[in-house]
Every structure is written in structure tokens, then in C-alpha cells.
């Protein structure tokens, strides 16, 4: 399995996609940090300019990369079918579920890298922007917890992407569907139907992040650990269903 994970990591290192998605991730993180820090204290903004939580909330922008990890996971799997590399992959490793597990592990490691870079970037940018506005950097509140929650959420979206890709297999359908879902559908569901929303991946990650008043649903979320377990369950259940249903199909 170690060799298979190494092979999956080498696959990722030898194409341009991960670097591109990392740049997009950092752009999203930057947007989110800017939105939080630059609007603080202005009319309609959720946080005041001197809110002790400001730095912590800005720091949690590091979780903006979840969607890109989801997309990376989907592409990692669907490209194998689009380019036909699934054939050599399964010739080397005829037990297809082993390839799936290797991909899940590999993207978890990549997700950790994305998350770590995002946290450092979000921290540096937040401090920079706060100083620029002449505001204090308040290192208060559960900062470590926020950083860990950011890391966890970003890391868990990669395996979910792999599982979704394995289930759908059609690259365009999977990516477009995932983007439409995570940017539009899920936000609506979490806002309008909190009873459903808290059980969705978005609700679960909001539960892990626990940003208090900033979260889209108030007091409706699962406990942080529950949210984390729910995200893991999504990845595991979707992977099992894919391993049973779609991965066994003929490669004709």
C-alpha cells in the first residue's frame, strides 16, 4: 500500500493540476481574508473593527480551499477514466479497491499540505491587513482549535471528492455538479432548511469550524466532533458505494 500511495503522489506531482488548484485555493483564501478584515467595523459587517474574534475569524479563511480539494479529488479519479489511465492503473493493481484506498490516502496528504499552506498564508495576510488598517492583532480565543479545525475540514474534503469522482466517473458532470452544489445548493439548504443542512457536508464543516455568530446557521449545528465524524462518514460511505457499484465496471 505504501508503494501505491507513493505512486499516487507521483501521479499528482507529475501533472500541473495540483499546483493550479493550490493557486486558486490561495486566491480564495485571500478573498475571504480580505472580505473579513477589510469590512470589519463597517455597516452590515458581522464583526466590529475591534472584535476580539476578528483575527481568529480571518484566520479561519484558510478553510476556503475545501471546494478546491473537492474538485481535485473528483479530477484525480475522473481523469483516470477520461484519459484511460485507469487501464494501466488497474493492470498494475488488479484489485481496484486498493487503488481507491491509495488515492484516498494520497489526497489526504495533499490536503494536509494545502491546508498548512492556506493557514500560513491566511495568518500572514490577516496580520498584514490588520496592521494596514491600524488594528490590533488579538491573539485571543481558541486559536489553536481554529487552526486545527481549518486543517481538518480542508483535509476531509479531498477524500469526499475522490469518492464522488468514483461514483460519477463523468468528469464534467462531477465537477460542474460539485461546484453548483457547494457554492449554491448547499448554502441555500443550510440557510433555509437547517434541519437538513446540518447533516450536509457544508453543515458538518461549519460545525467543525464553530465560528459562532459568523456561521450560517445559529445554534443548529452538530458539535465539532460530530461534524468531523460526519465528514469522515461521507468519504467512507461514498467510497464503499463506489467500490461496490462503479469501480467494478468493465474497462472496454
Amino acid at each position: 500500500m505504501k508503494a501505491l500511495v507513493q505512486a499516487e503522489l507521483l501521479k499528482l506531482r507529475t501533472v500541473r493540476l495540483p499546483a493550479t488548484l493550490l493557486l486558486v485555493t490561495l486566491a480564495l483564501v485571500a478573498l475571504s481574508v480580505c472580505a473579513t478584515v477589510l469590512t470589519a467595523g463597517r455597516t452590515g459587517a458581522p464583526l466590529g473593527a475591534h472584535d476580539p474574534d476578528l483575527f481568529r475569524v480571518a484566520l479561519s479563511s484558510a478553510s476556503a480551499g475545501t471546494t478546491m480539494l473537492l474538485v481535485l479529488g473528483i479530477l484525480v479519479l475522473t481523469q483516470e477514466f477520461r484519459f484511460g489511465t485507469a487501464t494501466p492503473s488497474f493492470l498494475v493493481t488488479p484489485r481496484r479497491e486498493r487503488v481507491l484506498v491509495a488515492k484516498l490516502l494520497a489526497i489526504t496528504l495533499v490536503g494536509a499540505l494545502f491546508a498548512a499552506v492556506s493557514v500560513l498564508f491566511a495568518a500572514a495576510l490577516s496580520v498584514g491587513l490588520l496592521r494596514l488598517r491600524g488594528l490590533d492583532v488579538v491573539l485571543e480565543g481558541p486559536l489553536t482549535r481554529t487552526v486545527l479545525a481549518d486543517l481538518l475540514v480542508v483535509v476531509l474534503y479531498g477524500p469526499i471528492g475522490i469518492a464522488v469522482g468514483a461514483l460519477v466517473r463523468n468528469q464534467v458532470a462531477a465537477v460542474v455538479g460539485a461546484l453548483a452544489y457547494s457554492f449554491v445548493v448547499e448554502n441555500l439548504l443550510v440557510a433555509l432548511l437547517p434541519d437538513v443542512g446540518r447533516w450536509l457536508p457544508g453543515g458538518a464543516s461549519a460545525a467543525v469550524l464553530q465560528l459562532g455568530d459568523v456561521a450560517t446557521t445559529r445554534g443548529e449545528l452538530l458539535p465539532p466532533l460530530g461534524g468531523a465524524l460526519l465528514l469522515v462518514a461521507y468519504a467512507v460511505v461514498l467510497s464503499l458505494v463506489a467500490a461496490r457499484l462503479t469501480l467494478r465496471r468493465d474497462l472496454a
Binding site: Q6, L10, V15, L91, P94, D250, A252
Partner: protein
């Protein structure tokens, strides 16, 4: 050494039967041509052999084991399928390194096999820029990665220019000379005729002929010229061989040595004794012609 066996192998896609009860053996240490027109079921058969397509019925095995049961597949069976299976943005060397790592082989094997297929100068190029012929070479390099005793090659000559086809022929000969078992499919007979020892001919998913190239070649019949035709015809017919008169000569449905033996025993002088050239191709065309399902050995149709 490994023997490949197909036993009642069948694949149905809906109402279509792509492969229909194929039973055959591929002997070890020999080159076996897997022949048939396009759509005969060759690719589906090979993909079932390699565990990529699940058979509706029957088995395909390597020394009794299905592909999925091989411990180190790349080191046991080298595979070249149609020239897809490459990420266009990945370089040739990286494509092979990925396979090597997954198979537990040293990454240095990538450059070794690229040299073996004359692709070393393009090692750092992205596969998206490769011609079809270069992809075929890269595919063959991947097949050689694990230095396997068995090679399964699906239409390896596709997309190769005449030099490439000659190169492929030489390469296959060299690989067979090293004692490897080679199963190579083709819809163009001359591509494998000079390389193969044995042939399996499939048509519409069924095996219509299996034998050595020499056997099938002699089925083109033997042309005989003799001043004493009547006596030779009688002797040959008595020995159970089909005979037909053709422009003053006789065409006999038997290999030349057999005809010579009969003539000697009948005391008949021969002026010409010649196996029909192009016999194999004729046999192939007849075996796979739509009008002829499973013909008896043909002879002298020229």
C-alpha cells in the same frame, strides 16, 4: 514459463455476443498471432484475459491463475493495449515512473525501457505531443517495464509507419528469442505472419482455427506438374487427398512432402512440386469471410 488458457470464454453486451465460447491455449515460449477482422472480439478477449472486462462465462488464465490473482502482475505479464491510457500532460518518463513505483520496481527502469524502444530522446516530452507511433512505442516500453516472461499485445502495429512495423517485427522476434511467451493480436495478417509460430483465428467472437503458421500455410495446397497426371490423381485420391486439375497442373489439398511421398510410391515423375504461396493469407481470408462460417481446410482456390 507460462501457458495462457482460454476456457469457454464468453462476453455478451446486451443482445450482442462479442466473444462466444472461446477455448484455446497459448503455448509458452512461442509467438502466437491472434488474428481476426476488426470487431471479431480480439480486444474484448484480451481485456478479459487481463481482468479489465468481466467475462459473462468461462475463464482466461495464466498457468491456471486469473490475472487478478497474480502477485506481481507487471513482472509476470507485460501488456500493450490500444494507444490510450496516457495523461497528455505527463512526460513519457513520468508515466513509466508512476507504473514502476506502483509495481515496486526501481524508477530507473523507466529510462532503460525507453532506450529499449528507441524513445530515450523523447523521455522528457509530454505524451500529448506524441504521434500515434510514439505512443505505441511508449506502450511497449510499459509492457517491458517488469521484464515479464509473458507479453500480451493488442494491435501493436497500429499507427506505425513501415519502418516502425519492421522495428516491431524485429523487436517481437528478439523478445521471443529470449524465450518469452508472446500473444499478439492483429487484423492484418502480414504483420504477424513472419513473426508468429502459432495462430488463433477468431471471427464473430468464435475461434475458427488454431494451429501453427506452417500448418495453415500448407493448407493453401500444393501445385504439382507431372506427365502422368491420371496415375497421380488416382494415387492421391486413394490416399484420401483432394485433387483438382488446374491449367494442366494438379492442385492437391496436402503439404508438398506428403504429395512427394505419394508420387514416389506411385512411381510417378514430378516436374514441379510447390506449396502455394500466400496460402496463409488465403486461409485467413476464407476463415473470416462472412459467407463461410467454419470451413474445412481449403486448398487450391487460386
Amino acid at each position: 514459463m507460462t501457458t495462457l488458457a482460454f476456457d469457454g470464454l464468453t462476453k455478451r453486451f446486451g443482445a450482442t455476443t462479442a466473444v462466444d465460447g472461446l477455448t484455446a491455449t497459448v503455448r509458452d515460449g512461442r509467438v502466437t498471432g491472434f488474428l481476426g477482422p476488426n470487431g471479431a472480439g480480439k480486444t474484448t478477449t484480451l481485456r478479459m484475459l487481463l481482468g479489465l472486462v468481466t467475462p459473462t462465462a468461462g475463464t482466461a488464465t495464466f498457468d491456471g491463475r486469473p490475472y487478478a490473482a497474480l502477485q506481481r502482475p507487471l513482472q509476470e505479464v507485460g501488456t500493450l493495449l490500444e494507444a490510450t491510457g496516457f495523461h497528455p500532460g505527463r512526460t513519457a518518463r513520468d508515466h513509466l515512473r508512476v507504473l514502476a513505483v506502483a509495481a515496486g520496481l526501481p524508477q530507473g527502469r523507466a529510462d532503460e525501457v525507453l532506450r529499449a524502444v528507441d524513445l530515450a530522446p523523447a523521455a522528457g516530452k509530454r505524451v500529448g505531443q506524441f504521434s500515434l507511433g510514439m505512443r505505441q512505442r511508449l506502450g511497449l516500453a510499459a509492457a517491458l517495464l517488469g521484464d515479464p516472461p509473458v507479453l500480451v499485445l493488442d494491435e501493436p502495429a497500429n499507427g506505425l509507419d513501415p519502418q516502425g512495423i519492421r522495428w516491431l517485427r524485429d523487436t517481437l522476434r528478439a523478445l521471443a528469442a529470449e524465450g518469452r511467451t508472446v500473444l499478439v493480436s492483429s487484423h492484418v495478417l502480414p504483420e504477424v505472419e513472419q513473426t508468429a509460430d502459432d495462430v488463433l483465428v477468431v471471427h464473430r467472437g468464435r475461434l475458427v482455427r488454431a494451429g501453427t503458421v506452417a500448418e495453415l500455410r500448407s493448407e493453401g495446397g500444393t501445385r504439382v506438374r507431372t506427365p502422368d497426371a491420371d496415375r497421380l490423381v488416382a494415387a492421391l485420391q486413394q490416399a484420401g487427398h483432394a485433387v483438382r486439375r488446374d491449367d494442366g497442373d494438379l492442385l492437391v489439398g496436402a503439404p508438398a512432402p506428403v504429395v512427394g511421398q505419394v508420387a514416389l510410391q506411385a512411381g510417378v515423375v514430378l516436374h514441379l512440386l510447390e506449396e502455394q504461396g500466400g496460402g496463409l493469407e488465403e486461409v485467413f481470408l476464407q476463415l473470416t469471410a462472412d459467407a463461410v462460417p467454419v470451413p474445412a481446410p481449403v486448398w487450391g482456390a487460386a
